[in-house]
Assembly symmetry: C2
């Protein structure tokens, strides 16, 4: 009985897939703060030219550089595993597969884009990268990738995560990066927040403001900014996940999955697994594609589709996306990587165009699901990933009730070995659900900028 | 340029290799405490019959059960990676390969034996397993494996590690196991130590005494003990590592490696990688095979080859092995998994018969090596593994000086993501070398039992 499909390294994908080439209604452009359409060169203070080209590209397939493949091939293709023990536990007729991205050196899918971003920056003469991180997965991944190319790396980490996970900082330090809690006194954006709220737990939006400011203030042009999610080029780099998964499912003798599940924060993990399958859906396949977000940060299930800033201070371009408003301050729940007010424009467009079925789940159900998964399949997943696991249980139980064999594919985006404090609090009963009230939501949505067309 | 060899899952080894079949001078038997040769049935209070048979077997190849393969295949075959970035850093003509066991759910090679041990116990009607753990790698692995088969699991964890690594306990708890610091008040052996030294940091020898006692005191016969290293059947189960590595090296176009390096505590990681190659060496191949131990716990480089107990309280049979004396109390250095007074009889016999070249290294050099490896290859290794990395650097530098192309294969036994406190102390300069003095060594060796033949 086959439980794992090892893809020969000769089958490692050599090109990324760009959903912008196939999405039925063309992607809306980003806007400058004054509401005019952003010119690509307006991004050149932040990103190297190749990434800006990828950001605006509508080419379907884009070559992966050999130097990038040489690094990714240390752990890719990642395993695609049939979760037979989990199926037995759930007593379901569904066949459940997970794509295990936790085997990377940083423990998540994030190196898939950190490595090419560091590579293109190195080629362009960049010597230093700045970035933000929520749970720490992205900051770790960029620290790792920067070390591969001899780049300095400065990470602004959301304070609530920084305080809960001191070892993330040590991890980044081991790779030679520096990590500071955000909001920090190092930037104007950080100081402004600290003046208003000295004990601010921070947010991804604030940390992005700080990292962008830190990159822009170096006038030599040798410091660039790197973003771990949201942008089109990040989604692009992650598609290697889904491209591998398609080939591996075929090795199991499966055609298209019936259901695809992945957690979403900024959207990159979800996009990586699902975009190659969204192409199939556009071409006529019947696939239920489910992004899962925390009930405490429900941008796709309760937010608006509108132009909004990517960060809190309003330093980034305006992006067309599902958003809770850039001033949104999520409750400090454990899935730090999902605490983001917006959603990748490509993922948002796919949802707006009816290709997705977004769901939200509260964290107690997620931790319970993660423990069931750990005890049956063995992997202790990241709190972010636990949202996908909880949705898979819902789908597997429904398959049992409907007595329907179906194929569920889900993204195991990362392990939770740096997040065990969350598990400890779950076991001691110290984890509560923190749903978002209507008042908080309305107040946050009132911060939406008044520029650009209504969507 | 190939950096990784993915072995198709159809090539997953289906049999373990037993070095006892080929070692030139037959293995000496274990002895009962009175000096008589131990009868296999004297082990039946601790282990199920199949494991006792494997312990005494001289059959060369032993089938791996399908149920075990079904679990191992979730992450096996593990990657064999050419460390090209590390080679560049060291400017060496050597080609360096590492076998990456850190991708298992527990983060190390330990599940390779935890899974079959839990399986054979389940078959035999066992409902509960007891064990000890040093750094926590083995306790985590047995907790994981027990959950796969619905067994209860109780882990006695060496207190110095327990205090330094609180999250190991959470990890075991997530898999449904219980974990207590050792020495504990739960056993006579633990209470005796605590009376003499209430703040005892513990040792693997003490924790083994406690776990053995906890298994023996359940007269229903449904509680068994599981050992994560030292014994022949454990070495056997780990050989899947080296068997895969041989096939993967061939995919790179390499013949035998010139040098094999792995860290040793009880011996299982080293045995797993090297035994299939020791077979080649016995058959005439010229391979330099190097087990590396901490300078603070140098059983092979400074201990005696003698019959000694496996535990501190003298509850286990006497084993023929390199030992520092079963009363040896290693300094609380960070490589908790290597803090064991003895060495696996099979590894000891291979060393005694001239097949190995044991080395010892102090921990500051090891952490420095681990940081160089993390920044070039990206994996943050366990402190245990860092001993192998440090030796590889020595060998690679020698290859450069001798201008000699050679092939170095080393065992990356586990990641250090639960050991980041050690890295933090290294960065802050709080790590010191703690070599063993002649006086301490003499005093500890004086505890050797006076039974059995001189070796």
């Amino acid at each position: 009985m086959r439980v794992s499909a090892t893809l020969p390294d000769s089958e490692l994908p050599r090109q990324w897939y760009n959903l912008a080439a196939d999405i039925p209604h063309a992607l809306l452009p980003p806007l400058a703060p004054d509401g005019s359409v952003l010119k690509p060169e307006q991004l050149s203070a932040l990103f190297p030219e190749t990434l800006i080209e990828q950001e605006a590209s509508s080419q379907r397939w884009i070559d992966i550089p050999e130097e990038v493949l040489e690094i990714l091939a240390r752990w890719r293709p990642t395993p695609l595993v049939r979760a037979r023990n989990f199926e037995r536990l759930l007593n379901t007729p569904a066949r459940i597969y997970y794509k295990n991205e936790s085997v990377s050196p940083a423990g998540s899918h994030k190196p898939n884009t950190a490595v090419p971003q560091a590579y293109y920056n190195k080629l362009a003469g960049t010597t230093r990268l700045t970035t933000e991180t929520g749970a720490g997965q992205w900051g770790s991944a960029l620290s790792f990738a920067s070390a591969q190319f001899g780049l300095e790396c400065q990470v602004f980490m959301v304070r609530s995560s920084y305080d809960k996970k001191p070892y993330r900082k040590v991890m980044m330090q081991t790779w030679g990066a520096s990590c500071v809690p955000s909001p920090s006194p190092h930037t104007r954006a950080g100081r402004k927040i600290l003046e208003a709220q000295p004990d601010s737990p921070g947010s991804l939006g604030i940390a992005i403001s700080e990292a962008v400011e830190a990159a822009l203030e170096d006038s030599s042009g040798k410091t660039h900014y790197a973003l771990g999610s949201v942008l089109n080029h990040v989604m692009l780099h992650q598609t290697i996940i889904g491209l591998e998964a398609k080939r591996q499912l075929a090795l199991f003798g499966e055609k298209s999955p019936d259901t695809i599940v992945a957690c979403v924060g900024g959207g990159s993990n979800f996009a990586g697994l699902s975009f190659p399958f969204i192409k199939e859906k556009i071409d006529g396949a019947n696939i239920d594609i489910i992004p899962v977000e925390p009930a405490s940060c429900p941008s796709m299930t309760r937010g608006l589709y509108a132009y909004d800033f990517g960060d809190t201070a309003g330093m980034t371009p305006l992006l067309p996306m599902y958003t809770l408003g850039h001033n949104f301050m999520p409750s400090p729940n454990h899935a730090g990587g999902l605490r983001y007010h917006g959603m990748a424009p490509l993922v948002s467009a796919a949802a707006k165009q009816g290709l997705l079925r977004p769901q939200s789940i509260s964290q107690v159900e997620c931790f319970s699901a993660a423990v069931q998964f750990a005890r049956s399949e063995g992997i202790i997943v990241a709190p972010e990933t636990s949202h996908a696991v909880a949705q898979v249980i819902r789908e597997a139980v429904r398959a049992r009730e409907e007595r329907r064999e179906k194929v569920i594919l889900f993204g195991l985006s990362g392990h939770g070995l740096l997040d065990l404090q969350g598990y400890a609090e779950y076991f001691s009963g110290d984890i509560a659900n923190t749903p978002l009230s209507e008042e908080e939501l309305d107040s946050s949505l009132a911060s939406l900028p008044k520029v650009g067309p209504a969507l």
